[in-house]
Symmetry: C2
Subunit: 342 residues, 2 copies
Amino acid sequence: MSVKLKDIAEQTGFSINTVSRALRDDRRLSDATRNKIKVAAEEMGYIRNILAESMRSNKSRTIGVIFADSANPFYAEVIQGIEERARRLKYSILLINIGEQAENERKAVRLLLGRQVDGLVIAPVYKDRENLALYQSLSVPFIMVGRYIEGLKSHSILHGDAEGQAMAFEHLLRRGHKKILYIAGPKNISNTIDRMEGMKLAYEKYALQIDESYIFESSGHMDDGYRLASQALERGLFFTAVVCFNDLLAFGVLKALHEKSISVPDDMEIIGFDNLAMSRFMQPGLTTVDVPKNHLGQKAVEELVYHIEDATYPYNTIHMKPRLIHRETTLDSHIQSLKTLE
Amino acid sequence: MSVKLKDIAEQTGFSINTVSRALRDDRRLSDATRNKIKVAAEEMGYIRNILAESMRSNKSRTIGVIFADSANPFYAEVIQGIEERARRLKYSILLINIGEQAENERKAVRLLLGRQVDGLVIAPVYKDRENLALYQSLSVPFIMVGRYIEGLKSHSILHGDAEGQAMAFEHLLRRGHKKILYIAGPKNISNTIDRMEGMKLAYEKYALQIDESYIFESSGHMDDGYRLASQALERGLFFTAVVCFNDLLAFGVLKALHEKSISVPDDMEIIGFDNLAMSRFMQPGLTTVDVPKNHLGQKAVEELVYHIEDATYPYNTIHMKPRLIHRETTLDSHIQSLKTLE
DNA sequence: TTATTCTATGTTAACGTTAACCCATGAGTG
DNA sequence: CACTCATGGGTTAACGTTAACATAGAATAA
């Protein structure tokens, strides 16, 4: 069996409690005692039983992490940030994927509560009466990353969905595009709603009407981008630019355009969202809205731990700034003006 | 405070133990009692304290997962498989990233042991005397995914690194390529060694010599692919094909080639490894060696749980079959033969 | 009938740790 | 010299659950 405090106590002649204190660096013990015990523990290969510690101290140093899909490159980077920061702060993370299903989200929360997590980091499904009630009565702190749910927005860290999407559209509208295809995201998450809102803001700014037939719904995956763009082209829909809910969709769109021999950005401009690591390496490099993914995860944990360690710490929505990253799927204003002169 | 067994016991009039049994579906209780207790538990919003359960039963239903970087799309997909299967088997996963550092790997193992995990799934650093000793004396079952370490190969689930890399090279050598650039992976992992071995096998098969100056070391990231390919070209190194340790490197290489206006596959053929989800959407679509990533993760958990539940279950290396996926960065034999006729 | 086995439940202890409280000793204080 | 107080450590109980054993009554068998 493994080494326990009891074994170290017997070995060193101190009581179990003294051993426990020594290993927790309790200053009320003499240096000599503390060192003697620590050395013995090290020699005996002692590993503290965190389960027992958690049980007794009522603090598990564990954070539950609930996402739709950890393999999605966007979430993968957020999770990376979460793991990194949690590890640094001496917390461990329990990861659960829920595939955008509100019911799975509830199950995940309950499971994690059963595991006595000290807090939760969640990318929640947007609208679900039952979930709202669940969160409102939740016994542990929780932070929502990159998304929010109505009524609990103060728990969210957001990255300017509306603002970012507006920037993307403005970049195109300003330069005269009239027919822009918008491939939207899954309808049960806040990002889809906010980005749609951003699109509207941009159109309003330029006093232009949105043609609803240019808005497609999607799951946010590459295949959908490919499929929807292909279909639109095959049906003869006329457009000069495509804005995508995220980069993955844009990858699919690029593939479709290439197959139809439509030249990007000359005949068609494309803008994504998220600025995934791969987006820079696409051919051509994808113009997109940058979101600080890793930082988002780190910040979420940081805030969460504040709440865990201080129950009075207030919840306030945190906003991060999106940035439009110009690459090769759009023409920048300079080049555009040159072309206009030709 | 939260509802405990004690509360349900008081509410229903049964003993704590009977309540515990009822909620665990113990068949020795009468249906009436079991139902009454379950209904009461449900009504009272009882959530079982898994920590306490784990403490007492000496089984945490937790699996520790140790990878270099969960944001790497390859591992992200493996982890997805792990999470999926673990969840289905009622296990939770604790995730730790170690960045290919042997020392971090040791720390992670110890941390997870402290958390009383029932088993580990690891992508280990290849060669480290201390780690070998650690694993040899490990008190819980462990499965290594996609990699192995010397002396413990039976714990691994592998996907034919040598075989897959040989297939890639053979495809090129068979069709007459003489100067093939190979961008290898990080040197402290088994994949790099085995894939290098696969390359050698292919050259031997065609009785050709390997020119060491065509082998570059890398970290396996996109930037390295870009940087190394750019450098090779700038230095005037002559080659007609590039084989990459993984798809990420290939993405970087494609970018570099495009910048130099080298046409793929006509002037240069490229083969990657891993068949990431994005590889199909690259422009041109990347020819690569497919590895069943999600399945690898699922299988790892499946095997691990066999070991957890039956200590006599034997360790045997499991081999999965790689497949060469022909896409647009290579010319297939048919097209090649047509070109030859020109 | 009486012994035996089942069935359904209760009682007690334990998992390994930490919290809360207690107690000796000796130094410093007035 | 008695008193306080800090120092260094021990004792006991508790966290919430399950394992192991015990038991009472009913059903069955001989």
